[in-house]
Symmetry: C2
Subunit: 406 residues, 2 copies
């Protein structure tokens, strides 16, 4: 074994028998170079969505433990099929599911976190010369129950395995050719990036770019594991996600993103006292609700408004939780607005460059787009706008920061 490579193929890459065949060929092209190979796969095509729909027809709010039991089958099927496909081409392969891989997680079904990987089985199979196919997205908690790692969890499986196995490379194959300056479906002249830093990728992923799961990038960053993102079905060079020090090109703005998946929740006339914000977000945390942007402005008349964004699917639950808090802390009103879009400008160069905020707001003003919320981080600026303005805003920002193909 010259080198150990962990590869991950997403759902669209294994959606059909024909595509599984192409994936097998791709895997074997690396195998021929005497590389050790661990291949993580997602469920075929829309399998996960179909299973969720089936479950919802039976029980609109099933226990998450059962949901994990159900959804984990999707990856098990594609792992077994890919192993069979590789065998049909004369190579040795075997598939492993979460409990066999030794991916041990906490108890948070449907959004479990990996605690430890006991990789002896994989190591044994690699040593014997087999390609090891791993059902992504899943693990096992201390009670031997099946857990899943959340949407896009197969990315996390791949990254965590690459770290645990001390792999030389981690390759994420998907249906896009890499990371772009903006979503090419919306911005036709978006440019593919050769390199991007972990931090930029994190900002872009959490701000709407759907290339990779955020948590997977976080783990890769933590262990400084470079990720290569490329297309399963193309030989074009993809994008390297790596530590800032290794990235050569350092533009001010790396890309712009748009997401319509979040809703804005506002808590009106909150008493302007210490500890109030903590109280609100403690309740949300206890209910496992992920909050993205949070905005609180200076108060007036000893009261203030607090706004934040959550995934649209969490709005109902959020409003319920927040209403309870509101009655305790004596806040006036809770408003939820799903008709919003969030656009973000991302780039590590922003740290040392002034004028990015100005240019962002100016670009939106030129299009007569009203800004409803603003947050900034060291390497990003995000604005919430009307949903109908989202795409127009994205195009304007992409142009303003000269991100188009040269």
């Amino acid at each position: 074994m010259k080198k150990l490579i962990v590869q991950k193929y997403g759902g669209s890459s294994v959606a059909t028998v024909e595509k599984i065949n192409i994936v097998a060929e791709k895997v074997l092209s690396y195998k021929k170079k005497k590389y050790g190979l661990v291949v993580v796969v997602s469920a075929m095509g829309d399998t996960t969505d179909e299973l969720i729909e089936l479950a919802n027809r039976i029980n609109p709010s099933p226990e998450k433990r059962e949901m994990d039991m159900l959804l984990a089958t999707g990856e098990q099927v594609s792992a077994a099929l890919l192993a069979m496909c590789i065998q049909s081409k004369g190579s040795r392969a075997l598939s492993l599911v979460g409990y066999q891989v030794g991916i041990l997680t906490d108890d948070f079904h449907t959004t479990a976190k990996i605690q430890k990987i006991e990789a002896q089985r994989i190591q044994k199979e690699l040593k014997s010369g087999k390609v090891v196919i791993v059902a992504g997205f899943q693990g096992m908690n201390k009670d031997s129950d099946i857990t899943t790692l959340g949407r896009g969890g197969s990315d996390l499986s791949a990254v965590a395995l690459a770290v645990a196995l001390d792999a030389d490379e981690c390759q994420i194959y998907t249906d896009v050719e890499g990371v772009y300056t903006a979503d090419p479906r919306i911005v036709p002249d978006a440019r593919k990036l050769e390199q991007i830093t972990f931090d930029e990728m994190l900002e872009m992923a959490s701000r709407g770019a759907q290339v990779m799961q955020t948590r997977a990038v976080e783990v890769a960053k933590k262990f400084n594991l470079p990720l290569y993102v490329a297309s399963t079905f193309s030989k074009k060079r993809g994008t390297m996600i790596m530590d800032e020090s290794q990235v050569i090109e350092k533009p001010v703005v790396r890309g712009v993103t748009l997401t319509e998946k979040e809703a804005k929740v506002t808590l009106r006339d909150v008493p302007d006292e210490p500890g109030i914000a903590a109280r609100i977000f403690k309740s949300l945390g206890e209910n496992n609700i992920n909050v993205d942007m949070i905005v609180q402005n200076v108060g007036h008349d000893k009261a203030t408004d607090i706004s934040f964004t959550v995934e649209k699917s969490e709005v109902k639950k959020t409003v319920k939780v927040i209403k309870e808090v509101a009655s305790v802390i004596d806040a006036e009103d809770v408003l939820a607005d799903e008709d919003v879009a969030k656009i973000s400008v991302v780039g590590v160069g922003m740290r040392s460059q002034s004028g990015i905020a100005f240019n962002t707001f100016q670009a939106l003003a030129e299009q007569k787009i009203n800004i409803e919320m603003i947050t900034t981080s060291e390497i990003s600026i995000s604005c919430v706008v009307r949903k109908t303005d989202g795409k127009k805003a994205l195009l304007a920002l992409h142009k303003k920061f000269d991100l188009q193909k040269k």
Copy 2:
């Protein structure tokens, strides 16, 4: 917990969301009586066949280990869905797959045998008041790999669990109302039996009646566990399968069966010497080929013919194995004939009754049906005939032994 009941629902009983709903109601009608409930389920409808077809499109002869990995998902899906369905009706339930149930098997993938059941997890969940839903058909070998128990294996899961848990009852729910004197699809006036002995059920199952898996009945017999076979969707009384001493009605012939699933293989001009038959069937056994009828007649000119039947799906493999043996033992020729049917007459009363053989042959002769092979056991007579004569033979025998509805 007044009583512990193990129930099994077949694939047609959980084929759709609506049917799963009916199964859940049936389970809960027992739960209301304060019974402890372990519910074994098969894969939804034709899922297993669809998965096999998918696998075959990828690899015509996939490794059996991967086949088990693939097929086991079918039961995992229906177990999770049934648990969700019961939860939606306000009761507590959880699903468990093979490795969680502690069903430990040998290494024979796709036809694994149960070696031990470590039922602590089920017992814990039952004690906490949950309905325990078990994914049937599957277990785990000593390497933690998923194994499956062969076609109809969910019956075996149910029976083995009932034995391991010392259950008070084992109920097998299916799409037929019980065991009949003959297949009602072929013999319209076939009669449903209220009782049948283990031995009769074994003969009938292995001779073509598809009500229950043979191995499951064998295990039930070994542990004297009465089985109740009935329809999921009807309230009509089903059939009890039980020890001979408990069966009240003792007719001479209990039923007649037909199978078109077997092929006849003949080894011509085998040297008529000691040890030859042993040699032939040792090779078949080593290749995991199940032989049903075996016929050897008295020899002539120091040579004899040996014929036997195997599942049609095994014919190719069988001929290959037998040709190798033939060349070693200097036999003349190997013939395979898939165009045959096997009809059988079954009943414990045959032991003490003469004339059954005569009546069987007479009934066939009256229809001008030629008999190609005959074997008998203490409680059955089987004949191989042309495939085109099978149904006619079954009808004639059913009538001859007065098995029709009174």
